[in-house]
Amino acid sequence: MCLGIPGRVLEVNPENQTAVIETFGVKNTVSTFFVPDVQVGDYLMVHTGYAIEKLDVEEAEIRIKLWEEILSDATPGEVSRPGDR
């Protein structure tokens, strides 16, 4: 219901509470009214032109690592290949 677009902050304009972000090479100006202390290099999640939260990069890395751990744990019986169906 709520399309969110992640983007990396290229430029911060504190005087009007906006930031320029980049998503797959596309730049866009968004309001940072709901997210304090935005810095260049931060990742923001944007909905209808408003940043709704800063992405926690550390948490993102933890999650990826967790998945990689789950995948390296070859539990017996888990050998079906749904990907090829």
Binding site: C2, L3, T23, F24, G25, V26, T48, G83, D84
Partner: protein, 335 residues
């Protein structure tokens, strides 16, 4: 019953357009040539064959990154002839102009058409101009009709498709539709996405000269790859299986499409075409296309299988989904 009106969706190239063509135009105009519903009509004159096509251009806005309505009017018609296997030769041009259009804008459009004609090797040999009162249309509309020469023995079409044939495209999809939509709606990243508007008769001519296994071609205009693929599958009575990961989409268009909740496979192109080709020739054809400036990201995106007219997309995760014709012009989805 509600009073039925013509909606914008009747002109978007999707299902409603299809309904209008078959239920209204074919009903009244029906003849053997028209009934084939090909991009261009094949006519036999004194033993020679010519292809004829016509198209009207109403793009809003008339100027957009990568082109303008004039360039589009030439390229669009040239491409319809080229994918039919014809060598485009002559165009006519009709201008419908709103009172008050700056002459400089008109000259810009006309100069752009002239440049596009030189590039495509075609000439505008007849034309017409009408001016209507303010508000009766938006700035400028252009109709072009194109005539092309069909060399002896050239035979492209649905009837040549066979299971095992491969499906190629000549590059990144969705750029034109995204560029125009972004520019029209003022979404704030308009200039970063550039229309792919280009005349394709050069690259197509090379392909047709080199490869006898080209079965058919389609330009991927309104409704995008998905709509064209569905039309081909339905008309030929085969299934098309496409690989999501193989389908090329540029970063900027992909990013903008994500922002607006749009699927690039349903966005229009003005410089992209689909080719169905015999499998043994596919690899060389891709190499040849990649050597051409309008085919640098050419690749195989899928294959023809025996079937009932469906288009399946194999997703990156290994799932399959079904592609259908566009239903209504793509609208940004946000909330």
């Amino acid at each position: 019953m509600e009073d039925r009106l013509i909606l914008l969706a009747h002109g978007d190239g999707g299902r409603l357009t299809h309904e209008l063509v078959t239920a209204l135009f074919l009903k009244h105009f029906g003849n053997e040539v028209l009934a084939r519903l090909t991009d261009a009509a094949e006519l036999h004159l004194d033993g020679g064959r010519v292809a004829v096509t016509t198209d009207s251009f109403v793009v809003n806005p008339p100027f957009f990154p990568g082109g303008d309505i004039g360039k589009l009017a030439v390229c669009g018609t040239v491409n319809d002839l080229a994918v039919s296997g014809a060598e485009p030769r002559y165009l006519t041009a009709s201008f419908l102009i709103e009172e008050g259009l700056p002459l400089a804008d008109l000259e810009r459009v006309v100069a752009s058409m002239a440049a596009a004609c030189r590039e495509a090797g075609v000439e505008i040999v007849a034309g017409d101009t009408k001016v209507v009162g303010r508000g009766q249309l938006d700035r400028i509309f252009i109709n072009t009709t194109g005539v092309g020469y069909l060399p002896p023995g050239r035979d492209l079409g649905y009837h040549r498709l066979a299971p095992g044939d491969l499906v190629l495209v000549n590059g990144n999809l969705g750029d034109h539709g995204m560029a125009v939509l972004a520019q029209r709606e003022g979404f704030g990243f308009g200039d970063q996405i550039v229309s792919d508007c280009a005349a394709l008769n050069g690259i197509i001519g090379t392909l047709l000269r080199e490869f006898s296994g080209v079965r058919m071609m389609r330009d991927l205009t309104r409704g995008g790859l998905a709509t064209a693929a569905k039309e081909i599958a339905a008309a030929a009575g085969v299934d098309l299986w496409l690989e999501e990961r193989a389908i090329p989409v540029g970063d900027a268009t992909r990013g903008a499409a994500e922002m607006l909740g749009l699927d690039p496979l349903y966005l229009a192109n003005e410089g992209k075409f689909l080719t169905v080709i015999a499998p043994e020739e596919a690899e060389e054809a891709v190499a040849l296309m990649r050597a051409h400036p309008l085919g640098q990201n050419a690749c195989v995106i899928g294959e023809v299988r025996a079937g009932k007219g469906n288009v399946y997309l194999k997703t990156a995760l290994g799932g399959t989904k079904f592609l259908d014709m566009l239903a209504g012009a793509p609208l940004p989805r946000i909330c």
